[in-house]
């Protein structure tokens, strides 16, 4: 059975099975709304905050998710699996660090 995930930033809702991550569910439908990177919990670009709902997680890099983040449900969407309907907001905006001329030495 799929759960309904709502991205509050965009109002987009999509169906996500408990065995697929919030990011996999989004991408499988060909939808966009959460930045997609390594899909392994290592790069941090898909960071979200779960605002409501139950979920399970797999291990993710401490470079991007602190204890405080975990306590406040600020997690990486590629490692969060829905256990109920969920709502979330995107907080890990992709940053153009190399190609932004202002940041180039």
């Amino acid at each position: 059975m799929s759960h309904t995930v709502r991205i509050e930033d965009t109002g987009l809702s999509y169906a996500c099975a408990p065995r697929e991550s919030l990011l996999e569910g989004l991408n499988r439908l060909g939808l966009r709304g959460i930045p997609t990177g390594c899909r392994g919990g290592g790069c941090g670009v898909c960071k979200i905050e779960v605002l409501a709902g139950q979920f399970q997680t797999r291990v993710m890099s401490r470079d991007h998710v602190s204890d405080d983040d975990v306590a406040h449900h600020r997690l990486l969407a590629c490692r969060v699996y829905p256990a109920s309907d969920l709502s979330l907001k995107v907080i890990g905006k992709l940053q153009r660090k190399v190609c932004n001329p202002a940041s180039v030495r």
């Binding site: 997609t36 990177g37 390594c38 899909r39 392994g40 919990g41 290592g42 790069c43 670009v45 291990v59 993710m60 890099s61 401490r62 470079d63 992709l94 940053q95 153009r96 660090k97 190399v98 190609c99 001329p101 940041s103 180039v104 030495r105």
Partner: protein
């Protein structure tokens, strides 16, 4: 051409979030040969056609990324000379005793201004490639297991102070600049490809504000056909692919970028050309970076610039 000084990339140590999941990936999907485990729990791998005991080492940690990247040098006298040269240049070096890594001799360790830990060593036990040393077959069963690259080829690392890093590699370690991408104003380099050999790169760096980041470790395939086969095996095993199969403009290499189960990018790579130290570097302007990265699509993929571990 005689190879002296720094010979080649010798090993990378990479952090993973789940050790056994990663072992299954590197052994059975990428098709590296597992050669040992040490008391710290590190797992050692080599590519099938490499002869030294290990070239890729993983350890479990709470964050992804690279611990260090090591180069093999010609002999002990070269190691001592390069250690002295690095110190004379103004870099602090540290000696890691023989045996700290399995089957690996004493290492000279130093940290680049980009935040990356580099190592030099002269000795690593040769265990062979599984083929005879007299009248050898061209390949054996290890080449057929998983993607099965030939060797650890190079790494691309992201961090600050690339201009200073270039000086260390070219003025102290004997590397030469093969290709570069200019900054938008054309005054500096956004990215550099450096060689200590006849290869288009043995290591590369790109300017990035956070120090010590891994963009990818690259594994050499024998043919474009083998790169396409690697892509098939990635999809069969649900490996997240980043870019490709395609061809880089920079280095002319054919490539797939993908991620290991912890979000460390790796590359299956073949081709390029054979530069010599007397060649001048090839230059890409920033507005042609897209062609440099992905020549057929002429696309500067956003993940190339933003997703690192």
């Amino acid at each position: 051409m005689a190879l002296t000084g720094v010979l080649r990339p010798g090993h990378a140590q990479v952090r993973v979030l789940d050790l056994e999941e990663s072992v299954r990936f590197y052994r059975d999907v990428l098709g590296l040969v597992e050669t040992g485990r040490d008391a710290e729990g590190r797992v050692y791998f080599k590519c099938w056609d490499e002869r030294d005991h290990n070239s890729y080492v993983i350890r479990q940690a709470d964050r992804a990324g690279i611990d260090f990247f090591g180069f093999k040098v010609l002999d002990k006298a070269t190691l001592d000379q390069l250690d002295a040269d690095l110190q004379a240049y103004g870099l602090a070096t540290e000696r890691i005793p023989a045996g700290e890594m399995l089957e690996t001799g004493e290492r000279v360790r130093f940290t680049l201004p980009s935040g990356h830990v580099m190592e030099l060593y002269a000795d690593k036990t040769s265990i062979g490639n599984g083929l005879a040393e007299v009248n050898p077959a061209p390949w054996g069963p290890q080449r057929e297991h998983g993607i099965a690259p030939v060797r650890l080829d190079h790494a691309l690392l992201y961090g600050p102070n690339v201009a200073e890093v270039q000086k260390i590699f070219t003025e102290v370690l004997g590397f030469y600049l093969v290709e570069r991408v200019l900054t938008p104003d054309g005054e500096g380099n956004v990215a550099i490809w450096l060689s200590c050999s006849h290869k288009v790169h043995d290591i590369a760096f790109a300017e990035y504000p956070e120090p010590g980041k891994l963009h990818h470790c690259s594994f050499l395939m024998e043919s474009w056909e083998q790169v396409l086969r690697a892509g098939d095996i990635m999809s069969m095993n649900l490996v997240p692919v980043d870019i490709g199969p395609t061809r880089h403009g920079v280095t002319r290499g054919c490539t797939i970028y993908a991620w290991d189960p912890s979000g460390n990018r790796f590359e299956t790579f073949m081709g390029g050309y054979q530069p010599y130290p007397d060649y001048g570097p090839l230059t890409w302007t920033f507005d042609n970076f897209g062609q440099g990265l992905d020549y057929p699509q002429r696309k500067l993929h956003e993940t190339f610039l933003t997703v690192v571990s």
